[in-house]
């Protein structure tokens, strides 16, 4: 059952990621990215990270991507027009990236052979424990990230303001 769920949602994630790369219009890419995030949220649930799955949907798919969709709608972005740039980067780059991926996969399969398996329910990340960790062991990063968000909000407001 775990395998079936994993395969379905990994397939959705990969398909959406491919669609992100292949779309001409940014809005289709944005929707594909939302699909990736949703599929990843289910995979987090399979790995027992229930709080992180919910936060992924609320924050990432429900707020950050809304920001992206807003910008695309506001700027009225059209489809990408194919330009006559150099294709050399593409012809060189894609094989190199594929090589890189193969290296990564080889490394991972070597470190984590298939007998190290995960099954649903053996490790759960309850919200209460994560909250406790955030407020005791990781208090400093927590406060620093809140200052970071404040700075980001101020920066975004100042940058996007129209000069009177």
């Amino acid at each position: 059952m775990d395998k079936v769920l994993f395969l379905i949602f990994a397939g959705i994630a990969l398909g959406a990621a491919v669609n992100l790369l292949r779309s001409r219009h940014p809005i289709h890419s944005a929707l594909s990215l939302i699909g990736v995030m949703g599929a990843l949220a289910v995979l987090y649930l399979l790995l027992g990270a229930e709080f992180i799955a919910a936060v992924q949907v609320i924050v990432y798919a429900g707020a950050i991507m809304v920001l992206f969709v807003f910008t695309i709608m506001l700027l009225n972005v059209g489809a990408e027009v194919p330009t006559s740039g150099s294709m050399l980067a593409r012809y060189l780059g894609i094989p190199l990236l594929a090589l890189f991926l193969l290296q990564l996969v080889r490394l991972l399969l070597g470190q984590y052979p298939p007998d190290q398996a995960s099954s649903f329910g053996t490790f759960v990340g309850p919200t209460e424990k994560i909250g406790r960790l955030l407020f005791t062991q990781y208090l400093l990063p927590f406060e620093v990230t809140s200052v970071l968000i404040l700075v980001a909000v101020m920066g975004a407001v100042v940058l996007a303001r129209r000069k009177p």
Partner: protein, 101 residues
């Protein structure tokens, strides 16, 4: 039925490489930004998988911080994109080349 943990890590690697590909080969700046978010998501999946393997919650806490930083970065980045669009009236990265030698 159980899922080998390496599958999660391989999926994360594939998504990461796809993010890199989008970052290098796409020309619309918003799509490039979205590829960055894809890379961050792939890394998040790795963190959660390792948190499972090592049976520690620190991995999940770190995912939380990654998401927060991604949110801040997306906000400021999109504000910059809006300003650039207002000035150059184009979202193609090839057109933003005033400072190129």
């Amino acid at each position: 039925m159980t899922v080998p943990i390496s599958w999660y890590l391989i999926l994360s690697a594939v998504l990461f490489v796809m993010g890199v590909a989008g970052f290098l080969f796409k020309r619309n700046i918003i799509t490039i930004f979205m590829s960055i978010e894809l890379m961050l998501n792939a890394v998040n999946l790795s963190f959660v998988a390792f948190s499972y393997v090592l049976r520690q919650l620190s991995g999940q806490v770190f995912v939380f911080f990654v998401m927060v930083v991604a949110a801040a970065e997306a906000a400021v980045g999109l504000a910059i994109i809006i300003v650039v669009f207002r000035n150059r009236d184009s979202l193609n990265v090839d057109d933003i080349e005033l400072m190129k030698w």
